[in-house]
Structure formats: C-alpha cells, structure tokens
C-alpha cells in the first residue's frame, strides 16, 4: 500500500510514453503530430519494406558488437596497466578519464575536424610520415567513414569502461597473486585463470551497460555523416531521427522506436537470464 504512489508514478512515467508510441505507430500522423486516423499495420509495412531500415538494423548490430567488443579489448589491458603501481599513475589515470568530461557531440565535431580531408590532422600526420601520398577522403565513402565512426565510438567508451574494470581489479586481493606466484604460476596463467574469472561480473556489467549505451548512441554518426552517403552509415537511431524530423513521419518513426525498444528489452532479458543462471 505504501509503495502504491511510487508504483503509480513509475507506471505513469513508463506507461504514458509507451502508450503514445503505440498510438502513433498505428495511426496516420501528420508532421506536426496531428493524428489523422487509424492506419493499422500500414506504418509497420512501410518500415519493414524499406531497405534502408533492414540495412540500418543489420548495421546497428555490427556497430554495437564492434564498438563494445573493441572497447573491452582495449580497456582491459589499459585497466591492467593502470592497476600497476608506477610513477605518474595518478596523472595517467586522470588523462584517461578526461575525454569523459567532453560532451559526445563536441567530441564528434572535434574528430570530424581531425578527419577533414583538406585540413585534418589525421591526413596531415599520415602524409608527414609518408604513409599516404595524397589526402584521403575519410568521410566521403561509407567503407572508410563507418570504421572511423566505430573507432571513435571505441575511444569515447574507454574511460567509462576502464573505470568499471579498474574497480573490479581493485576488488581482487593481491595476496592470491603472491600465492599463485609461489606456486609457480606464470603471469599469463594468473591472468587467464584468476584475473579473468574474477573479473567476470564486472565485465558483464561493462558489456551490458555499453551495449545499451552504444546501441542508442546518436551523436557520433549524426554529427559525422548523418547516416550518409546514400544511407550507408545509418544505425536505427539516426534512421529514426531522420524519419521523424527530416521527413516528418512520426508514425513510421514510432514503429522504429518500438523495434529499438524491443531489442534493448530482449538484450536486458537475456542478461537477466544469464545472471539468474550464474547466480
């Protein structure tokens, strides 16, 4: 009885937008949100039959897997290094955390400049070292633009991930390493057989939170390529934004957001199930 008010609040906060999305998804809606009538499955058909949607869906999965995977692969060794006690560790930790304080869209703008074909420092650097002989048009082709965006996605996810992993590492008592050393364990053995298994809960948290965050990450791709050229860097959120605000179709956009919701929801469900099984 006492939790009833908060329950009602939660229901309102979650339920009302959900109701609105479903209502828009099955209606013929004008650009300005005016509902012109019930349209049944028409919005769904329209979205599903759009090749750009299917393309964006696949690319979203690629984007999520590569960014999260890459982040973990880079963040783990970084965290291991930062755990060691060395001179200047505090400074190194601070420097690593600094990018976190920059808004994602600002970071994307800065990177866009760095990858500018005519004045960007990336091209300037590569030319200086003689790796390329003329400027590369990074953002002109999806084949280069998307990997660049994935790379930036990894870079901006690292501070957060390293923080979680460092927290995990510091929870492992150092005595067990000494004990293992005395028993003759080699460094990679103690990493593989002790550090990794004990890090598992922290890795899980890092992966799940990153998946949810990266899956819905909008600024990098929107700032750098707006899903183009020729729709070939769209992920679901950028596609959704374009549908709703550029093409003025809130109905189909609501359908896409339902799909996004469904995917994130099932990812969370899988995670809960995994935890249940482990626990």
């Amino acid at each position: 009885m006492l939790i009833l008010p908060s329950l009602l609040l939660a229901l309102g906060v979650i339920g009302y937008p959900f109701y609105e999305i479903i209502r828009l998804a099955v209606s013929d809606v004008s650009r300005f949100g005016m509902v012109r009538g019930f349209s049944g499955w028409e919005n769904f058909n329209r979205v599903v039959s759009d090749p750009v949607f299917v393309d964006a869906l696949v690319r979203t999965l690629v984007w999520t897997v590569t960014v999260v995977g890459g982040t973990i692969l880079v963040a783990l060794p970084v965290a291991l290094v930062l755990r060691e006690d060395f001179w200047g560790r505090g400074v190194a930790r601070t420097i690593l955390m600094l990018p976190w304080s920059i808004a994602l869209s600002m970071a994307a703008v800065v990177w866009l400049w760095a990858f500018n074909a005519d004045y960007g420092m990336i091209n300037a650097g590569l030319q200086h070292w003689g790796i390329i002989d003329k400027p590369l048009q990074w953002m002109a082709r999806p084949e280069t633009a998307f990997p660049v965006e994935v790379g930036i996605g990894i870079v901006v996810s690292i501070p957060f991930t390293v923080t979680i992993l460092l927290g995990g590492l510091s929870s492992i008592p150092s005595e067990i390493y000494e004990a293992a050393k005395i028993d003759g364990a080699r460094p990679w053995q103690s990493f593989w057989l002790m550090t990794l298994p004990m890090m598992r809960p922290f890795m899980n948290i890092a992966i799940v939170l990153n998946v949810i965050h990266v899956f819905n990450s909008f600024p990098i791709i929107w700032v750098m390529t707006q899903g183009g050229p020729n729709n070939r860097t769209h992920i679901l959120v950028t596609y959704l934004y374009e549908l709703s605000f550029y093409l003025g179709r809130p109905g189909p956009a609501a359908v896409v957001s339902l799909v996004v919701l469904l995917i994130v929801f099932s990812a969370t469900a899988v995670y809960m199930w995994l935890r249940e099984r482990e626990g």
């Binding site: 004008s30 650009r31 300005f32 005016m34 002109a140 082709r141 050229p229 020729n230 605000f245």
Partner: protein
C-alpha cells in the same frame, strides 16, 4: 451629471480595452541566416516598439538546420510563437493541418501589391495567401577569374562544354575545376541545375516524378563523368555547400554554383579574391533554382492583429532594404528592388536577370521525400554503386510512392 457618468463609463470601457492591448507581446521565430540576423530583428523590434508602444516583439533565433524540428516540437506541444520564418516548401504541410492562418482578410489595402509577384506566389495555396516572402535567392555560378582566365574563359563558362573544357585545363595545372556537392542539404538541387539546363524537370504536370527522364540521366552522367575524370574536387560525398563555398573563398576551387549571399561572405572573408558570376551553365536551355523563405502567422496566435501590424512594418521599404542588404538576398518587394544597392550591383544583377527562367520547388506533400530519394540516388552514383539510369529510376519509384502517384 448624467453626461458625466456616461463619460466616465466610456472612459472606463476604453481603459479596459486598452489595458490588454498594452500587454500585447508578439513572439517571432526567425532563422539564423548570418551573424547579422539576430541583431537586425532585435533592432527592428525596438524600432517597431517605439512607434507602437502597445506591442512588444520578442525575437527567437534558431539555426536553419534545426528550425523545422523546433517548430514541429513547439507546434505539437502548443507552445509555438505567433509568427515564424519557414521554408516555403514546408508550407503545404502547415496549411493542411490548419496551422498557418490565411492572411488575406487581415492585410492592409495595397499590402499584397508590395511584393514581387513570382516570389509571393509560392506562399499562396488554394487562392489564399499564407506565407509572405521574407528571403529570396536564386542560384548562379561563381568562378575564380585568375583560374578561368588561365584556362581560356576570362568571362566565365557559358555552357556545360565550357565547364568541362575549363576544368580539364585547371586539372592539368593541378587545381580543382568544378565544385560538386554531395553532402548535406540541397544535394538534389545541385543535380537539378544540370537537369533543368538540359531541358528536364523534377516533376511533370501531374506531380509525378520526371527527373529520371533522358535529360536527367544525361545531367547525372555529365557530373559523374567529370568526377571520374578528376575535374571535380575528390570525394564529393564529403563536401557540403558550405565546404565548397569555403574552398572557393580560399581560391582552391575554380567554379561553384550557389546563392547570392556568398557575395557578402567573400567581401567580408576574402576581399582580395577576384571572381565573377555567370548564369548556371546551359545545356540546351537556361535555368536556375529560386527559393524563398516565408513568414507565416500561426492559427493559434492570440495576438493576430498585433502580429499583422508587425509584419506590415517588416515589409516596408526601410526594414526590407536593411535586411536584404545585410543578408545578401534578393529583394522580395517592389520598393526595395528600386534601391540603388540592388539596381547598381552588377553581381547581384546576374541573379535578378535569371529570375524569369527560375524554377521554384513545387508545393506538394512528399517534396522532402523526393529530395531525399534524389540525393541518395546522386550519392550512390558518385560512390559508383549504381548507374545514373538505374539510380534515378529507383529514386523515381520511391518519390512517386511518397507523392501518392
């Protein structure tokens, strides 16, 4: 005594009617055209307030790229301003939902006649006037005089053959000849320049997609051929209109097609650049794109007469000349067009002279979808993933679906 009472009641009534009028506030959303836009409107609001102490005008400046999104959000939430600048091509959506108010009944006599006819027309739907042209521009080709003189065209290119020939020479000297834009807004329009000048059209008389005509294929093939032969900047899908304008200002690009406001930008940022302006090159005919932005009055405004008074003031000669000169647009009213700032500006004249052959974006629903479909098609051709013909046909099918054909 009796008379006195009557007088008193009359005075009270007058006061009661005057009191709310005193507190009237007209809110206006304007788009950010340049750094001068905000200060201009603030100054006009102050001038207007001085002449009409009963009306306060509040200005809100919004970036062009997020203007439509902001209006959409404001309108859905019912918190929109009283008047706003919009892209005239969006107007139909506003009218269909009953969001824009027809102005005919509120206009002072002779108000409508102030405007230059062809610029007012896109703001009229179903015989009613909804949008007043506040900004107008047309497109022409800017060329770098030094580079083009060296290439043998000291007076600029006239035809597409000239453009190709000049770009070949400029390429041989290691420069970028023709600026091809394929990123951001108006990618489709950049293709329409060539489409129209080859005698094609975007939509036919039945509002069905017609850009995939032989003229369209020819136009896109021309662009693609220039790209393949290295006559453009490399990687056009990386260049927005602003990027190309910047390249032109820096003297790194010989030819680019864009709007009159680049004149002002060059004067400010690259005053030493020697350049000329010629009409959009011809294929078989002469054509350009003209575009207007309009001021609309929202139907849910509670201060319509006051708002109309403000608009009346904005569209008098003084404020108009200041605005159009400051932003580098084309005059939209007859009085301002007579000002020497426009009649004696040789560069601006090129644009004005193009107006009889200018095309406007048609007022149809689904125009944004058509623009997007064409832009995608153009990009896919530049990326080499489709032939001009296949890409345009696919885009036409998509556009027709959105156009309801």
């Amino acid at each position: 005594m009796r008379q006195g009472w009557k007088w008193l009641i009359g005075a009270c009534a007058a006061l009661a009617m005057a009191a709310p009028a005193k507190a009237e506030t007209v809110r206006m959303t304007v788009s950010f055209y340049s750094a001068a836009t905000g200060p201009y409107f603030e100054k006009m609001a102050a001038d207007f307030h001085a002449a009409n102490p009963g009306i306060d005008v509040k200005i809100e400046v919004v970036n062009w790229s997020s203007l439509l999104q902001k209006l959409q959000t404001d309108i859905s939430g019912g918190t929109n301003a009283d008047v706003s600048i919009i892209g005239t091509r969006w107007l139909l959506d506003f009218v269909k939902d009953g969001i824009a108010e027809p102005l005919d009944g509120m206009m002072a006599p002779g108000f409508k006649e102030r405007f230059i006819g062809p610029f007012l027309k896109p703001g009229q739907i179903g015989g009613k006037t909804y949008g007043l042209p506040v900004a107008a521009s047309a497109r022409a080709m800017y060329y770098n005089k030094a580079m083009l003189t060296k290439a043998g065209f000291p007076d600029g290119p006239r035809t597409w053959d000239d453009v190709v020939a000049a770009a070949e020479k400029i390429k041989a000297d290691g420069g970028n000849g023709f600026g091809l834009m394929a990123k951001g807004t108006e990618v489709d329009v950049y293709f329409y320049y060539a489409l129209w000048s080859h005698g094609g059209d975007v939509l036919d008389a039945n509002q069905k997609a017609a850009f995939n005509s032989p003229a369209g294929v020819k136009a896109l093939t021309l662009y693609k051929a220039m790209l393949d032969r290295g006559l453009t900047e490399p990687g056009p899908t990386n260049y927005t209109r602003e990027d190309l304008q910047n390249q032109f200002k820096q003297g790194r690009l010989a030819m680019v097609m864009t709007a009159p406001f680049l004149i002002n930008q060059i004067a400010k940022e690259a005053p030493t650049l020697d350049y000329g302006i010629v009409p959009v090159p011809t294929g078989t005919t002469q054509a350009t794109y003209a575009v207007t932005d309009s001021v609309v009055l929202f139907a849910n405004s509670k201060v319509k007469p006051a708002a109309m008074k403000w608009l009346d003031f904005l569209f008098t000669a003084g404020p108009r000349i200041a605005f159009t000169k400051g932003e580098g647009f084309l005059p939209t009213t007859n009085d301002e067009a007579k000002d020497p700032a426009f009649t004696e500006n040789e560069r601006l004249k090129v644009f004005v002279n193009l107006l009889p052959n200018a095309r406007f974006a048609p007022t149809v629903t689904g125009w944004e979808d058509t623009a997007k479909a064409v832009s995608d098609a153009v990009q896919s051709v530049y990326l080499g993933s489709a032939t001009p013909e296949a890409a345009l046909n696919a885009a036409a099918a998509k556009a027709n679906q959105s156009l309801g054909k």
